[in-house]
Amino acid sequence: MRLARRLWTVYGGYALGFASLFVLWHLASTYLVGSVLFPPPTVVFKKGLLLAENGVLLAHLAASLQRILAGFVAGSLLGIPIGLAMGSFHPVRKLLEPYTEFLRFIPSVAMITVAVIWFGIGEASKVFLIIYTTIFIVILNTAAGVSAIAPNKIRAAESLGATRAQVFFHVALPATVPYILTGMRLAMANSFTTIVAAELIAANDGLGKMLWDGRLFMLVDEIFVSLVTLGLLGFVTDRMFRWSIYTFAGKYSPAGG
C-alpha cells in the first residue's frame, strides 16, 4: 500500500498526463476529424503490436538506435576535449571559434545532401550526421562550462599548492561535468531529429524509412506507429540519461550546486 502511494506520488502525474494525451487524441480523431487519415490510438496500437510481433518495428528501431548511439558517443568523445581546450586556452578559442560559429548555423538536415554524396546511403552517412549534430552542442556547452568556473575555485587550489595540471584535472574538469552532461542531453534530443530526416531521404531501414514507406503506400497507421515510437524512444532515452546522471554522477548533477 505504501509502495503504491510512493509510486503514485512519483509517477502519478506522468501517468495522468500520458493518459490525457491519448484521450485527447482519441477524441480528436473520432469526433473532430473522423477520417482514415488520422487514426485513433486504438488502431495505431493494434498495428504497432502487429509490427512488433513480426519483428518489423524492432528491426527499424534497432537500426535507428544504433546509428544514434554510434554518432552520439563519437561526437561526445570528440566534442568534450575540443570544448575543454577552447574554454581553457584563449588562442585555441580564437582559432576554433570560426569553425564552431560558422558550422553550427548550418543545420544537420542541410548536411544530409553532402553526407549522402560523400558517404553514400549506408551507415557512414548517418553516423556522420549524428556526429555533426552532436559535436557542436557538446563543444559549446563544455567551453561555456569551463568559462563559468568561479575564479576563486582556481585561486584556492593554487594557494593550496596545486600545480597547473592538478588545477585542470581536480578543479576545472569536475566543475565542468554538469555542463558537459547538459550538452550531451541536448545533443541526444537533436540526434532524433537528424536521424529521422536522414532516413526519410536515404536509408534502407530505420524509423524514418518506415515513415517514408508509410507515406508511399498510404499506410497511415504505420506512419503513426513510427511517430509514437519516436516520441516514446526519445522520452525513454532522455529519462534514462537523467536517471544515470543522478545515480552515477549525483554530485555532478546539473541541477545541484
Partner: protein, 260 residues
C-alpha cells in the same frame, strides 16, 4: 625581519575604456611573524587588492612585496587564503575531501591526510558533518570548511578576505570568538581584511587603518593591548573602538562623497 613587507607598492587598474585608476600608491606595511593583523578600511579603498597581491593572484604595478625577504611570485601554499564567499569550495567533494584537498595535491598518504583533515574539522567544530557536501551546509559551516581547509595545509600565514561578512550577526560573532581561540592555539600569522571596526578590535593585535581610495595607503596602525577573550562591553575595548573610529570616520566620508 618582518614576515611580510610591502615596500612602496603601487597598483593601477586599467578600465575597459582605457582610463587608469591608481588603487594604491606608496603603500607600505610590515606584518610580523605570529601576529594577527587586521587591515581595516572603507569599501573601495583597495584592501582586497592588498590581499590579492600578497596571495599572488595579482602583481603590483610598481614596488616590492617581500615574504621572508623574497619577492612574491604567484600563489603558493605558504599563503593560505580564506575567501569571502563560498564559491571557492568544491561542490563535488564532501566537507572532509575539501579539507584534505591540499594534502592530496601533495600526495600525502590517504590515511594520514584523512586523520589530519578530521583533526582540523574538529578544531573548527564540524565533527559529524564530514560526509556532507557544501550545498548541504549553512553559510557559517561553509566558512568553517574553508578555514579548516587552509589550516590543514599548514601554511606560513593565513590571508582572510572578509570571511564573515556574508554571515548573519549571531553566526559572525560566534565565528569571531572561535577564530580568536584557533589563533590562540596555533599562533599562525594572519592578515585579516575587514570593514567592520568591531571585528577588527575583537580580533586584531594590530589594526591598520587605510585611507579612502584612490591612491590609498595605511593611514595609521593601532596596537591593541588586550589579551585573551575580549568583551565588547569592556572599557578598554570601547576605548580602542573609539580610537579606530576617529581614524576611519573621515575616510568613510571621503569614500562616500567620491564622484567617480
Amino acid at each position: 625581519m618582518p614576515l611580510v613587507s610591502f615596500r612602496d607598492v603601487q597598483k593601477i587598474y586599467r578600465s575597459l575604456q582605457g582610463a587608469d585608476y591608481p588603487a594604491l600608491e606608496h603603500f607600505s606595511l610590515d606584518i610580523e611573524v605570529g601576529e594577527f593583523f587586521c587591515l581595516l578600511g572603507p569599501s573601495g579603498c583597495g584592501k582586497t587588492t592588498v590581499l590579492k597581491m600578497l596571495a599572488g593572484f595579482e602583481a603590483p604595478t610598481a614596488g616590492a612585496i617581500l615574504m621572508e625577504g623574497r619577492p612574491i611570485s604567484g600563489a603558493s601554499r605558504d599563503r593560505g587564503v580564506v575567501f569571502q564567499g563560498d564559491d571557492s569550495l568544491y561542490g563535488w567533494l564532501t566537507a572532509v575531501e575539501n579539507v584534505e584537498f591540499g594534502l592530496r595535491m601533495r600526495h600525502v598518504p590517504k590515511a594520514e591526510r584523512r586523520e589530519r583533515a578530521m583533526r582540523y574539522l574538529e578544531l573548527v567544530g564540524l565533527r559529524g558533518q564530514e560526509q556532507k557536501y557544501p550545498a548541504e551546509l549553512s553559510g557559517g559551516m561553509k566558512q568553517r570548511i574553508q578555514i579548516a581547509r587552509v589550516l590543514a595545509n599548514e601554511p606560513t600565514m593565513l590571508l582572510m578576505d572578509e570571511p564573515f561578512a556574508a554571515l548573519d550577526a549571531q553566526t559572525r560573532t560566534l565565528m569571531q570568538t572561535e577564530l580568536a581561540a584557533i589563533w590562540q592555539a596555533t599562533r599562525t600569522t594572519v592578515l585579516f581584511i575587514t570593514h567592520d571596526i568591531d571585528e577588527a578590535v575583537t580580533l586584531g593585535r594590530r589594526i591598520g587603518v587605510m585611507r579612502a581610495g584612490p591612491r590609498s595607503q595605511v593611514k595609521g596602525v593601532v596596537e591593541v593591548a588586550l589579551d585573551g577573550a575580549r568583551s565588547r562591553t569592556d572599557d578598554t575595548f570601547l576605548r580602542y573602538y573609539k580610537q579606530v573610529y576617529e581614524m576611519i570616520r573621515d575616510e568613510v566620508a571621503k569614500s562616500l562623497s567620491r564622484t567617480d
